[in-house]
Symmetry: C2
Subunit: 131 residues, 2 copies
Amino acid sequence: MCDSSYDPAKCQTVSEMLARLGDKWTVLVIMMLADGPQRFSDLKRAVVGISQRMLTLTLRALERDGLVSRTVHPTVPPKVEYALTELGRSFGEPIKAMGGWVFRNHDLIQMARAEFDERNPPAGQKLVQLG
Amino acid sequence: MCDSSYDPAKCQTVSEMLARLGDKWTVLVIMMLADGPQRFSDLKRAVVGISQRMLTLTLRALERDGLVSRTVHPTVPPKVEYALTELGRSFGEPIKAMGGWVFRNHDLIQMARAEFDERNPPAGQKLVQLG
DNA sequence: CAGTATCCCGGACGATACTG
DNA sequence: CAGTATCGTCCGGGATACTG
């Protein structure tokens, strides 16, 4: 990926986007917006557990990267609508690729984890086995 | 992705894998291992800037998820080899999908950022414009 | 309603030292 | 060599209060 036609700048962008995807809220917000434009308060309500602060920061980051558009309706009270841009919608592809892979391999992953946790005692505990 | 055939457990695994991908080192380690099995110290040297601690933690996490295998050669001094499993190699697909998307849209992203940063003053600074 | 500002805590991570 | 243990720092992010 970053091996062929190596471009440090682009590789850094890859890291940045991965880091963004990796945070707790971004994907959830994108998924909500995939259903269509949403107001700030709608998102706040839909994305359970997100704080006002984090919703703002998440949306700002997505807006900055051009994945989300922000349109202010100068009414009173204010009304701000967020929507996925064309770029934002196309971003669904790689996300779906990730999601698809996990779904296909979910059982293998869980089995691997169970096996690992069995081999590696979860915490300091005596192996009570036959005494 | 998580909309159709909704399964909370699988969706959580998706989040977990995304979070893993999002951290600073995981992808770099996977890319190194894509070239073939590597010893601990080789990885340490190859992944510039990673601490011993973080390399260990990263490898443990990947091992637990079944993406990486760890084989100890009981020699002296010790020799431990890490390698991608079949599952680990298949994980390259969605990663490549992400990377491909970013590469294709790199310029759009950069332009969006530049535009955003122009509209939104980077920090509190006077707009020195025509005085 | 849709934010921004401030405070504050827990966890992530680097640095360092020690061990089989 | 390949770790584990311990310590200290930094900052991500939640809670709360205030504003246009």
